[in-house]
Symmetry: C2
Subunit: 356 residues, 2 copies
């Protein structure tokens, strides 16, 4: 790590999301990153802890939503991250505007800055292995690459985007030659066999200066406003004029200097569904996992149960997710949780906003 000085390392943790996949536990005011599903602390808190010891506390930047102000400030305080380091998005605009804003703010503080952009709602169980991967990524970023962490596939998953990589001649660097949208099963099986495909994890490492250069070239409509205005009150004025676009689509897929660092055995999961959560949880003999609550089961298997105050009795069931909360109860086939979105939309249509 000869060329890397800790003073130049920054983390940008994207905490503005508001998904519905963990409804009814997650709600608009309490999305996934604030839940502690498989860990003692929330996913956001775990994400902050994960970079601590590697990146100085006051160089950790959070991008979050005003809607979650209290929760975010509490997490920041707990972790020792200055509240000044939180950038408050006036509304959700996907990742590109958030990343551009953070890069500008950091670049002004330190033109030599190297950034690790990290989602706040993924799980990485092996911190030390992750640090090694991150260090390798920073080393590539120093060489002006846009680096993305790619997870080495362990199954033909059709739920992720894939990175098609190619080893550069006379070096150990994997260049990303193509971004592939979520494939069908047949393609995913091919990708798994070929070993030149990685899951796109949404974790990016680059120089602030380099990524700003890329924004200037590929997304000037996002770059320009931040080039002259970065204070919250200024940003608030033009924010609504920004396009809602992802870094992947707006920058990465267009850039010619994207490299990947393959990550294996770091215990990564994007915890993208109740099913994904069940897969990483500790299970009993019948492959059931009870996250909390009092449960009595007879002939029950392969199920995930998250209770609240009342007793839950299950008889003769298999492959279900049961989530009991104060005001809403979900009973869902474990592999059909994609339809939770439909339920949430129906609740919105019925104006039952207190439930979503």
């Amino acid at each position: 790590m000869s060329t890397i000085n800790k003073k130049n390392l920054f983390a940008v943790i994207l905490a503005g999301g508001s998904g519905t996949r963990f409804w009814p536990l997650s709600r608009g005011h309490n999305p996934k990153q604030f839940l502690s599903l498989a860990t003692r602390s929330s996913l956001l808190s775990e994400t902050i802890s994960r970079v601590q010891g590697f990146i100085p506390k006051d160089q950790i930047i959070l991008v979050a939503s005003h809607k979650h102000r209290k929760k975010v400030l509490a997490e920041a305080k707990k972790a020792g991250v200055p509240s000044m380091n939180v950038l408050w998005e006036p509304s959700g605009k996907n990742t590109a505007p958030a990343v551009c804003w953070a890069a500008q703010v950091i670049y002004q503080r330190n033109p030599q800055a190297l950034l690790a952009v990290l989602p706040s709602d993924h799980l990485i169980l092996k911190k030390n292995a992750f640090h090694k991967i991150l260090m390798r990524a920073f080393e590539l970023a120093v060489q002006d690459y846009l680096v993305t962490l790619g997870i080495v596939p362990t199954r033909p998953d059709t739920g992720y985007g894939y990175l098609n990589i190619q080893k550069a001649k006379r070096s150990q660097i994997y260049k990303v030659v193509r971004f592939v949208e979520k494939p069908d099963l047949k393609k995913a099986q091919e990708f798994l066999k070929k070993k030149t495909y990685l899951w796109n994890s949404g974790m990016f490492i680059w120089k602030a200066a380099v990524v700003l250069e890329e924004f200037k070239q590929h997304l000037p409509e996002v770059y320009k406003p931040f080039a002259w205005a970065r204070s919250v009150s200024q940003v608030r004025k033009f924010w609504k004029t920004l396009p809602s676009i992802s870094v992947d689509y707006g920058i990465m897929e267009k850039s010619r200097r994207v490299a990947a660092v393959p990550a294996q055995d770091i215990g990564w999961s994007d915890v993208g569904s109740w099913q994904a959560l069940w897969e990483i949880l500790k299970k009993g003999k019948q492959q059931n996992s009870v996250i909390r609550g009092a449960v009595l089961s007879e002939k029950t298997s392969n199920s995930l149960i998250l209770g609240s105050k009342r007793l839950i009795a299950t008889i003769g069931i298999d492959n279900l997710v049961i989530v009991d909360t104060e005001d809403a109860l979900l009973i869902c086939r474990k592999d059909q949780s994609q339809d939770i979105k439909t339920i949430v939309n129906r609740l919105k249509e019925k104006k039952l906003t207190r439930l979503v």
Copy 2:
């Protein structure tokens, strides 16, 4: 009905039961007869209404448990049945002691009395058809038969006891020649084909004098104490010495003068399980029945849902019973509700008596 005077007709409604089949809705303090599952009023209330207009209000006798005093008195009052007409069992002793006590009390009031002994937790949807059957039964009871109503089978059910009947020579009377315990499926299928088998409904019609004669002969240990003592305070003294035994086993199976009246198309159900309840309820296109509560469903079929205050969302489920109450939630495969008993027993073992 030449020989039958309304002054002689009595109903004995057995309301002392305390089953667990409808847990968690039914509890020790609120068993099935007090629930309104498929009807506007409770099953007990429906049972009382069903004989009204046929049997004078003050000739309706309830046998009930002290534990349910308030509920029973409220139901009696609502129906115009005098509270004096309730016989309070000090504890559950199955049906024979209750029936013997009621028969003695009624015989003292009217030695010509004819009794219809009726369970309080069955459903009979067609009141007029039921009255016709009941009248036929009283006519046989006048001829000193012990009459039992037998339901004409509509399916090879293995959950009921069966009556094997035989038409008496030169009459329209069906004598019961054999009582058959719950059969296996093969036998039940034979019974269905043969048409000489009826389901034992547990509804009995007889003269008070005749049934007391039978008690004297077959169950003297029950008969004798009531022969000299019928007041509550007296009964309370010897009650605990009585055997716990059913009328079926103690009297009917031993008597030689048992006749059956076949009942068809009276809309009978013993509502013996959540599955049985689902079968008689009105259902939507996907064969779901929501008894109460707010439910949003996606890809949900053949299920019974009974909600309380919280929203219930179901996705990708089939053939389930979901019962949500304030302090307990049941999720059970619809055809496995026999295991509810196991859950209730486990709760008792854990001394969680407030939940049972």
